[in-house]
Amino acid sequence: MADGSTMVVGAPAATSPGPRQAGSMKQLARRRSLAALALCSPLILLIVCLKIYPTFYAVFLSMLDRKMNNFVGFDNFAFMISRPSFQLVIFQSVLFAVTAVILKAFLGFVLAHLMHNIRGRNERVWRGLLLVPWVIPLSLSTLTWWWLFDPSYSAFNWTLNMLGFEDIAFLGTVWNARLSVIAVNVWFGAPFFMIMYLAALKSVPEQLYEAASIDGATAVQRLFFITIPMMRNIILITVLYSLIVTFADFDIVRILTNGGPQDGTHLFATYAFVVGIQSGNIPRGATVSLFMFPILAALAFFVLRDVMKRNKEMA
């Protein structure tokens, strides 16, 4: 990206500018700069029309009343935040995102190490099997989970009964449903963490471990003094990125619980859908979505900073 611009030299001819200095090479450079812009124009158009404009439009929408006739300022925000059901949405979204991401990161880390231990031996097959949850479209696998959790036909409960346990109402109580939703998200997202961490693990030079072993480091010390510091940036970027995606998740809750029981599992996205699309209150729906914005923006800021830092380190 950066090196592309070095060819387009804007420095004026400092010494003895002959008549040919403004010649066609320079014109060519200018033309190329224009061509470069033209090649990017579909991208720019896409971003401006379907990302930037809707963002501002969402802010505008959130400041209208239900009939979308009158401007009401921040009334919608004030109203939402005062409602216990929306406070519950905030709580559940944070709980869901934080818990799920921590679990995914941990599980991914463990899986990556296991994969790293067996390196070379049918690694492709194992990796392929572990990636299956991540490959199936989420809405379809969630449907399968729903079927597994089904109150009267649950195959899990059948197994529990076989082993002598009571039935569990997986989606029946608020906390059970919350845990089920988190479980499905962890199941879906852990493979992504695994491949990111596995790639990071593989990039740690083997000599570092050999040097540490000779220096007398135990396996645990090698993990804490070499592996984790070397992977630090990737761990961070993956966690932050996943926080964004998980925080804004829609599919799992929509299909598994649709926000229930007693609106205990709604996330911002599913709640905004119910309010904005199903009940047709566009301004309120936009308001709900926009509550995500500051959190996502903060996370995005940190991701960007870390990615830039990493790029600079590699350069």
Binding site: L34, A36, T55, L114, L140, T144, D251, M292
Partner: protein
Amino acid sequence: MSASATAGNMPAPKAKVGSMEKQRRMALWASYIALTFFVIIFLIPPFYMIITSLKTSAEISAQAGNPWIVQNPTFDNYWELMTNAAFQRYFINSVWVTAVTVTLSMTIAILAAFSLSRMGFKGSQVLSTGVFLTYLVPPSLLFIPLFQILGWLGLINSTWALVLLFPTLAVPFCTWIMIGYFSSIPKELDEAALIDGASYPQILIQIFIPVALPGIIAATIFAFTVAWGAFLYPLAYLYSADQATLTVGIVRELIKGDVFAWGMIMAACAMAAAPPIIIYTFLMDYYIAGLTAGATKG
């Protein structure tokens, strides 16, 4: 490894070599056992999906015996779906939306990535950063204003809405991947081509695209995944059954009232999940390489 060399004439360290070897083998076995455990857990839902899809409605509702096995396996659910006009419609909708999305996204991404990684203009740096930021905008943040915008365009309940919107989800990351791959092509390669007499379009088509083919495969798979699996946008903007894509069609249309035809639903899920699984089976390595390009460098 090095221990074996010094152990030659001393009996005592030899035992130690054996124990290290043994330790290593045990660690390997422990890893295999743990991995097997996780694989089993991970594969429960897809396994159960397949099992259920092979059952008749009668067998499911009878609730007799072990639900994890099929008593009378049958492909009836699959046959029925294949001849079902509605399901065929979903499939066709998904295929055409995905095909157009992938083509459109890849064209936009490749052109932009070539420009950003090689040609450059004032503000190209800002644009690259902007592309990355838009990649971090989740679909659920903007679906309500987009609903209004689609309303003006008259695209509500039209698959064209998806063709318009899916690229917004796919293009940023595709561009990002392609910038990475194009940037890794040594600059001397285009200079050699310039001297050989190639024009910029020729450099792009004859040098960059073939050389960055792994990246193009990775980005294409990403765009495919986004379009094929998307759920929120089709659910929000397409309300009639004939416009539904597979995900929405299965979740919304196949589940009717309390009569859950689970055998058929699971068969539909399996059929809808098959294309991505097939693609990943063959091209997984490219996709993972593209995804983890940042993690493996440095």
